[in-house]
Symmetry: C2
Subunit: 111 residues, 2 copies
């Protein structure tokens, strides 16, 4: 696999990059969150996920409140270098609802 350095990544006009979080063992997609440069730096150096909370407008260490941390297996960028895929070993559910994954609602159109 190719490698890329963090300074080559493209953050958007708000300084954020979307990060897909995937379970490294089950391959289940767990959540989508956003990172700024600081949260990415902390994620790579501590090997636990940090995000930027757009609703609370603050740095967010995943698991700091819930105890459900995500140990980082690998951080992968896409071809456009504007999206990240973070493969993790979670120590508990990703979702604040207690679901293993945040993706648990089938989308349907109204008949």
């Amino acid at each position: 696999m190719e490698t890329i350095v963090t300074k080559s990544l493209k953050f958007d006009s708000q300084g954020l990059i979307p990060a897909i979080v995937q379970d490294a063992e089950t391959d289940q997609v767990l959540m989508l969150a956003y990172m700024n440069a600081e949260s990415l730096r902390l994620t790579l150096s501590t090997r636990e996920t940090y995000f930027w909370s757009r609703s609370r407008n603050e740095l967010w260490h995943k698991g700091a409140t819930s105890g459900n941390f995500q140990r980082v297996a690998e951080v992968i960028a896409d071809c456009d270098t504007d999206t990240l895929l973070i493969r993790v070993y979670p120590t508990g559910p990703a979702c604040h609802t207690g679901n293993q994954t945040c993706f648990y609602r089938h989308v349907e159109t109204l008949a």
Copy 2:
């Protein structure tokens, strides 16, 4: 699994919602793209993926140029109803580089 109707989804200020595309057979994460209401409607009705291209500013039927379509297995929303997970059966590589997935670059910090 719960169900949710499309009109309950939250599109952002530009009328878009991020859509993670995952291979329904291998569980590999293939790409992240964006949908507006029209591309989501087409995706659900035709069972092939349609996106909104932010760079070209136009509706984008995945595979129309490359021949690499994505047949839709299921469309799932997350707990915040502001992100989609599209599980697909791809007929070819997701990436314009010819890679099966757009995620093929390990992110590293400079020493």
